[in-house]
C-alpha cells in the first residue's frame, strides 16, 4: 500500500523560501500567482493493506519525526 504525507508550514509562520520562490515566479511573469508556500512530501510504502493501521502509524511518524508540530502541519493521503 502506498501513502503520502504532506508537511506544510503553519499559516502563522513566515516562509522566506516560499516568498523567494513567489518572487522568482513573478519575475518569470508567471501570471496570476498570489502567493507561494513551500512544503515537503514523503511517499511511504507499507506492508499489507490495512488502511486504518497505516494511517495510525503515519500519524505517529509525523508526530515523532516527520513534522515539527510547533511550526508545521501534516496531512496523510492513502492509496
Amino acid at each position: 500500500m502506498k501513502a503520502r504525507v504532506i508537511v506544510t508550514l503553519k499559516r502563522s509562520v513566515l516562509d522566506p523560501q516560499g516568498k523567494a520562490i513567489e518572487g522568482a515566479l513573478k519575475a518569470l511573469a508567471v501570471e496570476g500567482v498570489k502567493s507561494v508556500r513551500q512544503g515537503k512530501i514523503f511517499d511511504v510504502e507499507f506492508d499489507g493493506d490495512d488502511e486504518a493501521a497505516a494511517r495510525l502509524k503515519l500519524s505517529e511518524a509525523c508526530e515523532r519525526l516527520l513534522a515539527n508540530t510547533i511550526v508545521e502541519n501534516y496531512a496523510i493521503e492513502i492509496g
Partner: protein, 227 residues
C-alpha cells in the same frame, strides 16, 4: 567539572568544544558517540557541538534529536545536570523538546558567517555568571538556520522568566533589525530552559577562547561552567 561532548555524524565542531572545555577545566572531556545509550557516570555537563548532523536532512537537528543517546541527555537534564547546545546543538535541543521554539531558515535565506555582538541578558546562571549583566560580547556566528521562532505565548513566557541568555545587538548593545543576523524573534541568540540548566545558543563561544583567532569573549562562559 566532568564534561562530555556528544558526537553525531556530520558534526564538525566537537574538537573546538573539547578544546575550550579542556582549557577551562583542565580535564579532557569524554567524547560520546550518538549511538550510545548511556552517558559516563558522574558527569556535570553535556555539550552538543555545532556542525551539520545528518547533513541537516529533514530539518536541522531533527534526526540527531531522536538518536539513542538523547534519552540519556534528557535524563541528565531532568536530574538537574547541565546541558549546552551550540549552533546545530541548539537546533538538536529544540527538536528534542529540551528547549522551546524552533530554528528556522535565516530570514534573508543566506548562510551567515561573521563576528556578531551579543548582549548578555541573564548573568545569574551557571553558564553566564562570568559575565556582567548587559555586557556586550563578540562571538562568531556561522549558520543558515538560526532564525529563532516560537509562538507568542512562549516568547512572552521566555522573556518574563528571564530565559533569554543572549540577544543579538550592535557594538553599543542595542538590539534591533539592523543587528539581527537571521530574523530571530526579539533578536534571541540563546535561551535557557525553565530550570536554567539547559542552554542553547547559535553563536560559537568555543571559537573565542584565544586572542590568536580574534578574541576571548567566549572564555568567561567556559570559566563559569568550570567554577
Amino acid at each position: 567539572m566532568r564534561a562530555a561532548v556528544i558526537l553525531f555524524p556530520g558534526v564538525n565542531r566537537e574538537g573546538d568544544a573539547a578544546r575550550a572545555l579542556r582549557r577551562a577545566t583542565g580535564e579532557k572531556p569524554a567524547i560520546v558517540w550518538h549511538a550510545e545509550r548511556e552517558l559516563p557516570g558522574g558527569l556535570d555537563l553535556v555539550v552538543l557541538p555545532g556542525g551539520f548532523s545528518y547533513g541537516d536532512y529533514l530539518r536541522c537537528g531533527a534526526i540527531a534529536a531522536r538518536s539513542p543517546i538523547m534519552a540519556a541527555v534528557g535524563g541528565h537534564a531532568a536530574r538537574g545536570g547541565l546541558v549546552m547546545g551550540i549552533c546545530n546543538g541548539f537546533q538538536i535541543l529544540c527538536e528534542a523538546g529540551l528547549l522551546p521554539g524552533v530554528l528556522m531558515r535565516n530570514a534573508e535565506l543566506r548562510f551567515v558567517c561573521k563576528m556578531q555582538h551579543l548582549r548578555v541578558e541573564n548573568a545569574q546562571t551557571p553558564f553566564t555568571r562570568g559575565y556582567a549583566p548587559g555586557e556586550v560580547v563578540k562571538f562568531a556566528v556561522a549558520h543558515g538556520e538560526g532564525n529563532f521562532v516560537a509562538d507568542e505565548e512562549t516568547i512572552r513566557r521566555i522573556e518574563a522568566e528571564g530565559r533569554v541568555a543572549f540577544r543579538y545587538c550592535d557594538a553599543q548593545g542595542l538590539a534591533g533589525p539592523g543587528s539581527n543576523p537571521n530574523g530571530s524573534m526579539n533578536s534571541i541568540a540563546g535561551v535557557f530552559n525553565d530550570r536554567f540548566n539547559v542552554l542553547g545558543l547559535m553563536p560559537h563561544p568555543e571559537n573565542l577562547i584565544d586572542p590568536l583567532v580574534g578574541g576571548v569573549d567566549g572564555q568567561a562562559l567556559f570559566a563559569s561552567l568550570a567554577a
